[in-house]
Amino acid sequence: MDEERKCGLYLLIIGLLCTFGIVMFKGMICYLLYVIAVPCLLYGIGSYLIPKTRRKNAGRLPFRGF
């Protein structure tokens, strides 16, 4: 598993836990969990939709001489 998907997995777990929390709790804490859950789920789901990188030198910035 490459690093992008590993991060995605962690964030997906956090996002799902927060979603679970939103269902369980009531009041202010729901808003807080919602704010955390949405971006985590966005990245977590997205990281499994994106294709594997086809670059030769992954991670190298396309800059002069580097």
């Binding site: 991060c7 964030l11 919602y34 949405v38 971006p39 594997k52 910035l61």
Partner: protein
């Protein structure tokens, strides 16, 4: 589960769609001003969806997990703004805090990638923060007039005394400058100027760029809503269709302003914003001395 959360989910999707379409409209109008046909209005939405399924790799120069975290923070920040402003109608001061966090996101995005262009974008975002944050002296003037900074209280005040736009034109102008700064292609947009490729977003591509696009659509909607609610009045925000119409009108104005002005040099931009902030401060002092 709280039923209010369902409202918030509705609101988020609404904000994202409306914000994306307005940004598309903004781009279209600028293209027409420049004599081009321009992309379709849904282009911004298409961009967001297209980038969402594009590959990413972490640059080896990047500082992880800050590199991902700032992009996600951008979404969190503007979701918080939506909840605080539109759903809870709470303190305007928290909105300032959120706007300040937006600056942190720009700075962090730029610096965490290690790219020289991103670094310049990040440093410029620090510059512009120094000038844009004083613009929030507006809040002090509002407090002196309405004796509260809670958005619900401000709406109540306006329903009794009429809209604040005519009572404090200087403050409305200063807040409008904030809107101009946040809109794309703006004269104050030194952070994302084309002279530094894409500024802070240079190294955030693919999925991360898509997430930032989502956040910006929500941000555009939230800022327009706050401007309308604080300065125009409760009768506009009470009905979604009227709100939408006023937002379209504001977008047209913003597009004309941004389409007809060149990008300022960083120090000119900062100086101009500081001058306007100075005007607001004079206004605040005047209100203080005259006893609000």
């Amino acid at each position: 589960m709280d039923s209010s959360i369902i409202n918030v989910v509705n609101l988020t999707i609404h904000a994202f769609l409306v914000g994306s379409l307005l940004l598309g409209l903004h781009r279209k109008i600028i293209a027409r001003i420049q004599g081009r046909p321009g992309p379709p209005i849904i282009q911004y939405l298409l961009h967001t969806i297209k980038f969402y399924v594009k590959e990413i790799t972490f640059p080896i120069t990047a500082g992880n997990p800050l590199y991902i975290f700032v992009a996600l923070l951008d979404v969190s920040v503007w979701l918080t703004a939506l909840i605080i402003a539109i759903d809870l109608k709470s303190s305007l001061l928290i909105i300032i805090g959120i706007y300040v966090l937006q600056k942190i996101v720009e700075h962090g995005c730029g610096l965490s990638s290690g790219s020289p262009y991103g670094k310049i974008g990040g440093v410029r975002s620090v510059f512009s923060a120094a000038a844009e944050v004083p613009l929030f002296a507006v809040v002090a003037a509002i407090y002196l007039t309405t004796h509260s900074v809670l958005i619900s209280d401000i709406l109540n005040y306006q329903s009794i005394h009429g809209s604040l736009l005519f009572k404090m034109p200087i403050c409305a102008f200063a807040f409008f400058i904030l809107l101009v700064s946040k809109a794309p292609n703006s004269p104050f947009g030194i952070v994302k100027g084309k002279d530094i490729v894409s500024g802070y977003m240079t190294e955030h591509y693919g999925l991360l760029a898509s997430i930032i696009y989502i956040a910006e659509a929500i941000a555009y909607f939230a800022l327009l809503w706050i401007f309308i609610a604080v300065f125009i009045g409760p009768w506009v925000v009470s009905h979604p269709l009227i709100t939408l119409a006023v937002m379209v009108g504001l977008t047209v104005i913003l597009a004309f302003v941004n389409g007809l002005t060149p990008l300022l040099a960083p120090h000119h931009s900062v100086m101009l914003q500081m001058t306007i902030a100075g005007l607001v401060l004079c206004d605040v002092l005047y209100r203080l001395i005259m006893g609000g």
